[in-house]
Subunit: 346 residues, 2 copies
């Protein structure tokens, strides 16, 4: 059997390899992208158990993670709104506006790192950021831990989530619990996933043409893998500065993390999963229309003018990346006690 | 059989009626309170159907009801936090602070009217308030309707919710859908409900003593019925001004609604359902400890000094009013379209 198969593959390979344009687009796509796996991936040094996922869900929705007791993870990463807040940039403590567009939490587990500049290596590290950021939750780890310890209903679930730990209510464990919960927030079964699994009818003719353009124009250079992006760091404006309206001069991206000149205006490429429902676009959130965003990517990143017709096709392909949204039960949170630190709202 | 029963009841009645103190406390309670019914009550002129309840749930959680697209009904009436926000007074658009403590949405359907001053006759009328209040959602009905009409995913569910209506996406229907959803947010099966249904063991000895004190001291004058309150309007400070710290001078309560001198500092009595988990207390939200609130009620409303021991017993009775919290699935909300009005965040 094996001996028979090899020559066939060789023949097919030679035929397809004759020209890019002639290789079957589905086969090309399968070499570049992967469907969302059915099962949440395991986290490094953070084994999931049902209690830990449940605790993560509670913490994710608990506004008492913030100093004001008003802002939860779900405020800016709303599981009902594609895992984001549909705002240009997020609004946090004291109605301050954050510097960048809120990235979606959905499928974030498959990104190479977290935040637009990749400054957090994983979801647990990420979770610690907004809690402490003065323009977001404006809290302090010690105040958060004191708050959680003051809420009697949280103690048993922390114990169950982190068995064997003498003092499980820690900032690290808060982040770990949120991480395993967030790892469950994936959106499988998008039309494109079905296509990657071999169902050619999952994409319409226009959508498949859009995919072909996406491959041929070079979009895949930054947008590949399970997440159709989120795999690496790239300058925004490889070929052409998109202009200060879209790429504000002050936000130098990864340069702020690495202080390396080559990292000026470098960002982690965003996943394009669910991109059609997570407007506005780019780290600045300045572009609301997906078609416009596609054209801007053409000029800024590829140095080409994408025609209206091609942009429409690419956009129609991008809509096939909208997957089955997670169904999340809103948690019933344990009540305050008399010793719970008061919200700080000023 | 019947002939035999009557004399027995008479004998019992005479024995119990000899003095208040000797009548069985469970029987007394049953004459004053009612358990939370198992089924959501029907709304006047607003028949529930599954689509309408589902639409109400979506709208309740949709921050696009607010001008900023950041604040939903659930922000201040968090179904996971006893139906409130656990803040002194709520925070709304632009981080403005509202004038009064957010009343719980849980069991609100059983209140005589809505808001602390009863200015909304029902939950549908109430729902329209925060949407338009400049310190809350700061939206305009016409902008909200334009927003909802711009979201393609909302149209079919509005049609299904309001069958036969040519133009179902209206501000009135938004309020109606929210009302039928909120009518489902009830908390049955509190220990006190079980007690009212005849299970004497549902209350501990101290809790039952607290109930007796609650009846004997006169708390029931304002806190009776299904909701243990919420049945009528009463001055805050019947016997003694609780002081400007607790009853701010500027907030004259129902007087602002009726302009009647007798309504100065009059408020709708709050339901005491879930009171142990919905701190802080009073319309001003100035008191965080339930025991303290009980004592303040004693002096302000009844002109008596409630001892530490009695206050502790009353408080322990009040904890038996915490019912089974509703389990609510966080909705997956339909995405924006290109014509969706942009959030206004300034």
């Amino acid at each position: 059997m094996k001996g028979k198969t090899i020559p066939l593959i060789l023949i097919l390979g030679l035929a397809a390899g004759a020209a890019w344009g002639k290789e079957d687009v589905m086969n090309r796509a399968r070499g570049i992208f992967k469907p969302i796996p059915a099962k949440a991936p395991a986290m490094k040094d953070n084994p999931a158990n049902p209690a830990r996922v449940e605790l993560g869900r509670m913490l994710y929705f608990d506004p008492r993670l913030s100093a004001s007791h008003l802002i939860s993870c779900n405020t800016c990463h709303n599981v009902g709104l594609g895992g984001t807040d549909l705002l240009e940039t997020s609004i946090g403590h004291g109605w301050q506006k954050g510097p960048r567009n809120s990235p979606t939490v959905l499928n974030a587990v498959y990104n190479i790192a977290q935040f637009w500049d990749g400054r957090a290596e994983d979801l647990a590290a990420q979770a610690k950021g907004p809690v402490q950021a003065s323009v977001e939750m404006n809290n302090k780890p010690e105040n958060l831990v004191a708050t959680l310890k003051s809420i009697p209903g949280y103690i048993p679930i922390f114990k169950k989530s982190f068995p064997g730990e003498a003092d499980p209510v820690t900032f690290d464990n808060v982040a770990k619990a949120i991480e395993v919960f967030e790892a469950t927030l994936v959106t499988p079964d998008a039309p494109f996933d079905k296509y990657l699994k071999g169902n050619r009818k999952a994409l319409s003719a226009a959508e498949e043409q859009g995919l072909t353009l996406f491959l041929d124009k070079g979009c895949v250079a930054c947008h590949s893998g399970i997440n159709v992006g989120g795999t690496g760091y790239f300058p925004f404006g490889v070929k052409e500065d998109p202009g200060p309206e879209i790429r504000p001069v002050d936000d130098t991206g990864r340069y702020k993390v690495t202080s390396t000149a080559a990292d000026k205006y470098v960002f982690r490429s965003p996943s394009l999963r669910n991109v059609a429902i997570t407007m506005p676009y780019f780290h600045s959130g300045k572009v609301w229309n997906l078609n416009d965003a596609v054209k801007i990517m053409g000029s800024a990143q590829l140095g080409i003018k994408i025609t209206d017709d091609d942009a429409a096709k690419i956009t129609s392909f991008l809509t096939t990346l909208t997957g089955k949204q997670p169904k999340v039960m809103h948690p019933v949170l344990p009540p305050n006690s008399d010793t719970t630190p008061r919200p700080v709202t000023n």
